[in-house]
């Protein structure tokens, strides 16, 4: 057998059962030396579970794992490290209060005579970061970095262990295009050097840049394994979801009516400067821009999470004052936030409690006693309208797969009769089929005369779904584009109109 073809990892007949769910059922998986293997499947298919078994986070119930042809029994986090396996988890796993260097060396700190060598660690971290062209100081506190930079630190951390088997579980979902390109360069480089990579992603269009082979799973089952070049994108999708998806961006035309929601001269800190826009009845306003352009900050300021310094907001022609999220919700303005782990979910509470949380005012009587039957009905409706895959609504929100958690974050706002719904990256980490469900849902809102604001970093979906696009850069709206005239190039031109030559890392 040729050296290149030699499998470094072979997993056979892997079964894993969680209370109430068979996450993996007789799954097999193979990874060769020096290849990038994409692991694809719908939300809840079991991708994360499979790689967590390989990296020792979970133990398998049945099956065998061979590394370099040797049966290694159960993998533990320690033995994974010994075998040279490193994983970048789907959710960020970092100590927010520690510095970048401290996080990179967490658990394998350098020391001399029992005393930490902070200097050396910072220097080494600096070297790793610059070799990856990541422009962050190693002494920055991780919690102060934007999510995309945190993700890059996570990647740097995994690479710094010199692993020969690298697992990336949706590494790009929080990255900007520039950082993604950087990551791809790193991946190709690693491949050259004989490292093997397992790559999980729902952004199918990026696969062509790096992937050699694909493994497709559905509902905990192994479906197929093939060379990437031998499959068309439509074939991959139909293997993943078990049916064909006709339209990836089901845009509908609705007559545009009067202005529903308007923001005038909104100011809030450095990242939101003089932002003004209107959303009219029957349209979806897309907000495009690069990471760090101030889009999320704008939505947070509107919703009253962060304080405003000036500007006014009108809803249906009347001025409304939003000081706290509660005011916004009362007025009928809701926000589906970007960072699900931090802002979207109470992971220790059940799925039911999470969906009900913002809607308790509708579910309880005057004495604020919660009406349990109403609650169950609302939760049931929300779950079925987004086809969330779960064992029971009473399970902890933490037990859901990443994409299904995102569906809960979206779903909890839909039971309300709102006037304005602001989506901040609603399809992040969601599979193709579920994306279409969310798009359809936005269409339904729009057809019901609700103003929809749709923030996204993925140009294809903004171009595909929005009726009008506002492009932000440096905390300002640089221009609006109509659906017909917008192209990727025009958006990028507006999105890169920086005033200052040097883009500071925002703190």
């Amino acid at each position: 057998m040729e050296e290149k073809e030699r499998p470094v990892v072979e997993m056979e007949h892997i079964t894993k059962i969680f209370p109430g769910v068979v996450a993996l059922d007789d799954v097999s998986f193979e990874l060769r030396k020096g290849e990038v293997m994409a692991l694809l499947g719908e939300n809840g298919a079991g991708k994360s579970t499979l790689v967590k078994i390989l990296s020792g986070v979970y133990t398998k119930d049945e099956g065998t794992i061979k590394i370099d042809g040797v049966d290694v029994g159960d993998v533990t986090p320690q033995s994974a490290r010994k075998h040279g396996i490193a994983i970048i988890h789907q959710e960020l796993n970092m100590c927010r209060h520690l510095s970048v260097a401290e996080n990179i060396f967490l658990g394998r700190e350098l020391s001399k005579h029992g005393i930490l060598s902070s200097k050396e660690m910072e220097k080494e971290a600096e070297r790793i970061l610059s070799s990856l062209k990541i422009d962050i100081s190693p002494s920055t506190i991780v919690g102060d970095l934007p999510v995309s930079k945190q993700q890059m630190v996570e990647i740097a951390k995994a690479l710094s262990t010199n692993a020969r088997i690298l697992i990336m579980d949706e590494p790009t979902s929080a990255l900007s295009d520039k950082e993604i390109n950087e990551l791809f360069r790193i991946i190709r480089d690693l491949k050259e050097h004989g490292h093997s990579i397992i790559y999980i992603s729902h952004r199918l269009e990026e696969l062509k840049h790096i992937v050699d082979r694909v493994t497709i799973m559905r509902d905990g089952h192994f479906i197929t394994r093939a060379d990437f070049s031998s499959l068309s994108m439509d074939q991959i999708i139909s293997y993943m979801v078990g049916r064909e998806i006709k339209e990836k961006f089901p845009h509908v035309e609705t007559p545009v009516g009067e202005t529903v929601f308007s923001v005038k001269n909104l100011n809030a800190g450095k990242m939101v400067r003089n932002v003004s826009f209107d959303v009219r009845k029957g349209e979806i306003l897309g907000i495009a821009g690069l990471m760090g352009a101030g889009r999320t900050e704008t939505t947070r300021a509107i919703f009253g999470v962060d304080p405003k310094e000036g500007g006014n907001i009108h809803l249906d022609g009347k001025e409304i004052v939003i000081r706290r999220p509660k005011d916004a919700i009362k007025a009928g303005v809701v926000l589906v936030p970007e960072d699900r782990k931090k802002d979207g979910l109470c992971t220790k509470l059940s799925i039911r409690e999470n969906i009900a949380l913002p809607n308790l005012d509708m579910l309880s009587d005057k004495a604020s006693v919660i009406h349990s039957r109403k609650e169950h009905k609302m939760v049931g409706d929300a779950i079925s309208s987004l086809s969330v895959k779960l064992s029971s609504a009473e399970a902890n929100a933490a037990s859901l797969s990443g994409g299904n958690q995102q569906k809960i974050v979206v779903g909890k706002w839909l039971a309300r009769r709102s006037r304005v719904v602001i989506f901040d990256e609603p399809t992040r980490g969601i599979d193709v089929a579920a994306k279409v469900e969310i798009y359809n849902l936005m269409n339904r809102l729009k057809e019901n005369g609700i103003a929809v604001v749709f923030v996204s970093s993925e140009l294809p979906e903004i171009l595909g779904m929005a009726d009008r696009i506002a492009v932000m850069c440096d905390g300002e709206i640089k221009g609006f584009l109509q659906r017909g005239e917008a192209t990727q190039e025009k958006i990028m031109a507006l999105a890169t109109q920086f005033e200052k030559k040097i883009v500071e890392v925002e703190l």
Binding site: V305, R324, I329, D343, L345, L349, I370, S372
Partner: protein
């Protein structure tokens, strides 16, 4: 009703979060009772059970308060001092001839003020709860001391007979009034926690304050409410102690905040927030009371009692960790 009441009732009960831990410690409680019953047959006499309940009641009350606070992910160290403050203020007022019920109202207001201060310091000024309530704990103890010029009070006198009966000596259906007070308050607070909006907000704040805020929950309001509940519970316990002794003692309620943590934690309330039910606190308080009472009966000295109870606290939390199947214990980092 239509026929789609899901599952059978037993399954439904088991589904309630935290029920698993409650059931395991209930088994522990039953075993303890049996052991003490064998060692000393009078353990199960009506008289002893009645006394036992009266011992459990104050622990349950402060346990309710502490559980509320713990579920929001905070802690209240001022509980014991507020008990002392309540005893001293009410007793002082009564020895000065004030109408007992008016004294009760004034005492309640003073104690609630401490709860409000705790809530504002923790959620308004964002002080770490440990520090903020350490401060109010010291202040409240100080107030207890100056209430009567650094002396315990004299007897609250015959005029307070009604007060003493209401809070301690009276009986209804043969059971002491303290026990009834604890039962009534438990029912009310359990209802609030499990069935109302406020209750749901308490869990949400404890589980993820950021997400709760973005869902329209007021962090300041919710946090203040739980501290006020804790102060009300402590106030009531202080009043029962005043009624029981017929006077005010400055060191009343010493270390009660920790007993309250113990009762909560034995009953499965997580100190990391977001988890626990008040049924557990009942069992936790009962285990506490049964151990005190049973060991006393068995002739064990106080020192031994302390050691046993300390061991039980650690064991019950350990048990919970083991039962939940190797879930790693995480140390919460407060932002």
């Amino acid at each position: 009703m239509n026929g789609n009441v899901k599952n059978n009732p037993l399954k439904k009960v088991l589904q309630i979060r935290g029920m698993g831990q409650v059931l395991t410690v209930t088994v522990g409680l039953i075993i303890l009772c049996i052991v003490f019953g064998i060692i000393n047959p009078t353990f199960f006499s009506f008289r002893n059970i009645n006394n036992l309940l009266r011992q459990i009641a104050p622990i349950l009350l402060i346990g309710i308060g502490q559980s509320y606070v713990l579920i929001t992910g905070n802690i209240d160290l001022s509980i014991g001092s507020v008990v002392g403050m309540s005893t001293m203020i009410s007793a002082t007022l009564m020895t000065h001839g004030m109408n007992p019920w008016l004294s009760v109202i004034i005492t309640l207001i003073c104690c609630i003020a401490v709860g409000l201060a705790n809530g504002l310091l923790v959620a308004g000024c964002k002080l770490p709860p440990f520090i903020a309530t350490l401060g109010t704990m010291t202040i409240a103890r100080g107030i207890a001391q100056i209430a009567n010029g650094n002396y315990n009070t004299d007897s609250i006198g015959a005029a307070a007979e009604g007060f003493r009966n209401f809070f301690y000596y009276g009986r209804f259906l043969g059971i002491f009034s303290t026990v009834w007070i604890a039962i009534v308050l438990w029912v009310i607070f359990n209802f609030i926690l499990s069935r109302t909006r406020t209750g749901r907000h308490i869990y949400a704040v404890g589980s993820n304050p950021d997400a709760a805020k973005l869902s329209g929950v007021s962090i300041l309001g919710t946090t203040t409410k739980v501290y006020v509940v804790a102060s009300i519970c402590s106030c009531i316990v202080g009043l029962t102690q005043c009624a029981s002794a017929g006077m005010g003692a400055m060191d009343a309620g010493n270390s009660y905040e920790l007993y309250a943590v113990a009762a909560s934690v034995i009953g499965g309330v997580s100190t990391l927030g977001g988890q626990g039910i008040l049924l557990g606190t009942v069992i936790g308080a009962a285990i506490w009371g049964v151990l005190q009472n049973g060991l006393q009966f068995a002739g064990a000295p106080v020192a031994i009692r302390n050691i046993v109870i300390g061991v039980i606290v650690v064991l019950s939390v350990l048990l919970d960790v083991v039962v939940r199947g190797g879930k790693k214990i995480k140390i919460q980092k407060n932002k």
